[in-house]
Amino acid sequence: MLIVGGGPAGLAAAYRLATRHRGPGGDPPVVAVLEKSREAGAHMLSGAVLDPSALTDLMPDWRSRGAPVEVPVTEDRIYFLTERRRIPFPVTPPPLRNHGNYVISLNRLVRWLAGQVEAAGVDIFAGFAGAELLYEGDRVVGVRTGDRGIDREGNRKATFEPGVDIRAQVTVLADGVRGNLTKSLVERFRLDGGRLPQVYAVGIKELWDVPAGRLPAGAVIHTLGYPLPHEQFGGGFLYALPDGALSVGFVAGLDYRDPGFDPHSAFQRFKRHPLVAGLLAGGEMVRYGAKALPEGGWHAIPRCHVDGALIVGDAAGFLNSMRLKGIHLAMQSGIAAADAALDALEAWDTSAERLARYAALVESGPIRRELHPVRNVHQAFAGGLLPGLLYSGLSLVTGGWWIRDPMPAHPGHQRMQHVRGERSAAPDAVPVDRRLTFDKLTNVHYSGTRHDEDQPSHLLVQDTDVCRTRCREEYGNPCTRFCPAAVYEMVDARGGGKRLQINASNCVHCKTCDIMDPYQIIDWVPPEGGGGPRYEGM
């Protein structure tokens, strides 16, 4: 059994396989996990408010095993923001209530879970990325890892080590949102046929140390409204951890129309709002990062089983966008995949028909129970979940937080409009003071991102001519704005004009460019294993 991706989904599958099951002959199945980050959990970035239900299903005694899940949600507020003001929602709509949940750092949770998984006898190969799937005919038979030690011209360095083929009876793809292996599998077999297109958002987050007394540990705040215009999807969050640690983040839908929109600037603007600025004043930003999340919900989930492989977690799109929660569903899907895979191993039949049991488990289990009722969020709200008090504000709200209306029928990148006239509608640049607000490069420094600089770019742009010709005119090179790590720059070309410069080593692996590029010519592939951000406490 091979699992690609050591996030909550992959590790839940690994743990389930190693602890609950005996393979044919009574021995535990041999399970390996491939993870591109150098240390387990280092590419984890989340909110995060954890619904502990799946962790309890996986490991009922997580408390006594010392899981870093310690801070129950104590208060739960939602505000609608205007530029200067905040309007509290007097009642938190039930789907957004967080009673019984915990404020956590997903980094820490995953690092701890990786320890549990290894203790259960699973090998975790951190620092190794799955570069491509191996097939025999149409059957997935494993994964090829990336080569190491190639220089930027593509030559082998003295440290060259070719990738390795890892073969497995069942390969579980847990490569997260817009995972490169899942993307190739879905394309090859058109697994998304007949489904709504997946839509995404990008979350940008900082971890702050703030003076004592600002927010009690366990406080959870969500915002809608400012700085986004009505029709744009997104919102902010503030989650308080103990000892003055505060997670501050902003989620922006990757289906915005204005090519001048810059999610990083929106996040800076959000921090300048009096509500947020007041909480952060005198504090210090200690970490930064960004990551996309799937928002399409139940109808956008592709078929997740093929001959020899299963797709779990964010890679498949198991995320409840209304609650901004995916960790527990990722784990539930990992558990279901483990059960289905073992059933298939025992039957000596890992065909798609047999592995379809995974789909049945998803249908009959907690995942559908949670996702199906909110498959069309608008209806759920119209069904009376929103207190009448909010009704007057509904026109504002429908464009706002975690509420998509109507469900998009086109991939987000297709909604981007051409630049009109001289400049886009984007407001002026946010002042950067390097105390409250930061430029992208300074922020990236706080993501701990590192790549061996002497390697080929892992951002494959099929045709950079488009960048300096069509895209420049039609969209004004939106990649220079939507990338939260300043990877893409248009610089002066030698003979006049502009050319695209790719600072690949800045990349925080958020996948926004792969999703939002209007021409869909950017392909994110894994860089040399071990490269990328080094998140801590995120």
């Binding site: 090998d123 190969f125 620092g127 190794f128 890892t145 080590e161 390795v164 390097r434 490069l441 300074t442 420094h445 590192r450 600089e453 002497d454 610089v491 002066d492 030698r494 410069q501 600072n503 080593s505």
Partner: protein, 327 residues
Amino acid sequence: MPMPSSDRAPVLVIAEQRAGNLNPVTWETVAAAQALGGAVAVAVAGTGIAGAAAELAAADVAEVLVLEDPALESYTPDGHIAALASLVEQERPGLVLFPHTYQTRDYAPALANRLGGVLIPDCVGAEVRDAGLVLLRPMFQGKFVAEVAPAGPGPHCISFQIGAWRADAAARGGAAATRTVPVSVDGSTIRQRPEAPFQEAKQAVDLTQAERIVAVGRGIKGQEHLPLVQELARALGAEVAASRPICDSGWLPMDRQIGSSGQTVSPKLYVALGISGAIQHLVGMKGSRTIVAVNKDADAPIFEVADYGIVGDLFEVVPALVAALGE
């Protein structure tokens, strides 16, 4: 697979020597060969190798084979392959073992190919099991160990990672017979001409030791303007360094990059020309004693760490500085 049978010693160790001095890792490979059981022969090739052969004869092995030929005076892959191929054809061992040195990496793949066998390189262990010989090879940077069984008729070439066996585990105490094996290598078939042994190239510049550094950033606009910077560096007796975009474009070599993914320096004088002062650059130079910055943007963060800041166009400021220094 049963241990390969042969009328001579089934296991042949290839010793490594340079200028008659035995490379001590050879003993590790002798230890590996002994651990496999069966008779072991050790071969040493070169010129002036009597001493090395005598040293090897102290090992508890069946024989020491000596291959002397003028064409083997300095190491060349072609010479080595020709001599050893001829040896293996005469002796017909089942296994040929090497220490996994740079030299082995250089010629052993081609030798194995010439012998019609395979090379299983960089092993960390070997076990003889009921089913035959199993070699252990690390994968995934040592996180995994693969078991590899050689198949086919052989001879199988195997190299062992340095340190996989202990040199002092090699049993000694024998007085092995030394035998000269006639090989003749046709010098004209050797395509390589040996040069003086490779010395680790010293880094062309050691910026960390420089007393003065003139660093240039994207404000320089194009590679063609670099001489301007070099002129100032010459006038100051300084080394030239750069921010990442300059090295990234190949305008200056990567070892001249200052910053978090380049060098960290703390010279007495650091002159930053057309560098904005991104944090990744600052962490590499903010320990400098005196920092002078030239930038046309008064808000550039480089001025936050600069002792002397000149807000201006470097294409005007630098020539003026050079002229002033010339006086």
